[in-house]
């Protein structure tokens, strides 16, 4: 018996929501980043399950691009955190409130 494709989609929804909770509740900048990566991966899973459903390889190509953009995003984001850490000695987002008021 093969796995119904809807299971993959529900799994993607669950992983995306876990990532959302992490991005909203954590205060460590790097953990927030990890949560965003988790959400990106959930979306990749969803794209691949639709590609499988439609039998279209274009979905795999799009996931390839998502991976590349995620790599660029991680490089930039982590460099930003290093620069912020150098200025403020913390990457706790609750204490990075220079532009808040």
């Amino acid at each position: 018996m093969t796995v119904p494709i809807a299971w993959y989609m529900v799994l993607a929804a669950v992983l995306f929501s876990i990532g959302t909770v992490g991005a909203l509740t954590r205060r460590n900048g790097i953990t927030i980043f990890l949560s965003i990566e988790l959400m990106l991966n959930a979306v990749n899973l969803l794209i691949l399950s639709y590609a499988r459903l439609l039998g279209d390889q274009a979905g795999q190509v799009i996931v390839f691009f998502v991976l590349a953009v995620a790599a660029a995003e991680a490089a930039i984001g982590l460099a930003l955190f290093i620069a912020v850490y150098r200025l403020r000695r913390t990457i706790d987002v609750n204490r990075l409130n220079l532009l808040r008021w």
Binding site: L11, S17, I18, L24, R27, N41
Partner: protein
């Protein structure tokens, strides 16, 4: 058999995803993320995308998460301190919102999923030869643009993460930076590179 593999790796990925967002220590979060990514790679293989699964392991766990670990090591980030500004209300609101979101999204996807029985995997769909043909013909322009994006990202990451050189603009220590000094510092930044 396929169902058993799916259930095992789906459960593992959800469990470790919860560890990723719940563990106070960022290094352990990152290591759990490795497990999540491996589980998802297995699911990608089940979905008939072995090339993407290999990329997932190579690019995500091999490059991106190692970068995360390096930054954690460089900045020496430890356990998140719960002492200041704990906001239980925020946590509960996020949990409830996410539960609603997951339920809604899951139901939506469940109802739009199409036929229950999938067509069998065809050699055409699995073929990496066809995939690369597609990538380098139909998607050639996006491919080149992504290469450019990565180049720009590397240069930008280097420029941002580099320690300030002497004569460059230094971080404002106390109070506002005088405008003249800022302008001079910005000029100095150009040729110090």
């Amino acid at each position: 058999m396929e169902v058993a593999i799916f259930v095992l790796f789906a459960a593992l990925s959800v469990g470790f995803a919860i560890v990723v967002v719940a563990h106070p220590h960022p290094v352990k979060s990152t290591m759990s993320m490795v497990v999540v990514l491996f589980c998802l790679a297995v699911l990608f293989v089940l979905l008939g995308a072995p090339f993407v699964a290999a990329l997932q392991v190579l690019v995500y766990t091999g490059a991106i998460l190692v970068l995360f670990l390096f930054v954690l090591m460089l900045l020496n980030i430890g356990r998140e301190r719960a002492a200041h500004a704990t906001q239980p209300a925020q946590r509960w609101v996020a949990l409830i919102g996410a539960a609603f979101f997951a339920g809604f999204l899951g139901m939506l996807l469940w109802r739009t999923h199409g036929p229950d029985t999938l067509d069998a995997l065809t050699p055409d769909y699995l073929s990496i030869h066809r995939l690369s043909w597609e990538l380098f013909t139909t998607w050639l322009l996006p491919f080149e643009l992504v290469g450019l994006l990565l180049l720009v990202a590397v240069v930008a990451a280097y420029a941002m993460a580099r320690a300030p050189q002497p004569g460059e603009m230094t971080p404002p220590q106390a109070g506002a930076l005088p405008a003249a000094a800022a302008a001079e510092g910005a000029e100095g930044g150009g040729d110090a590179a």
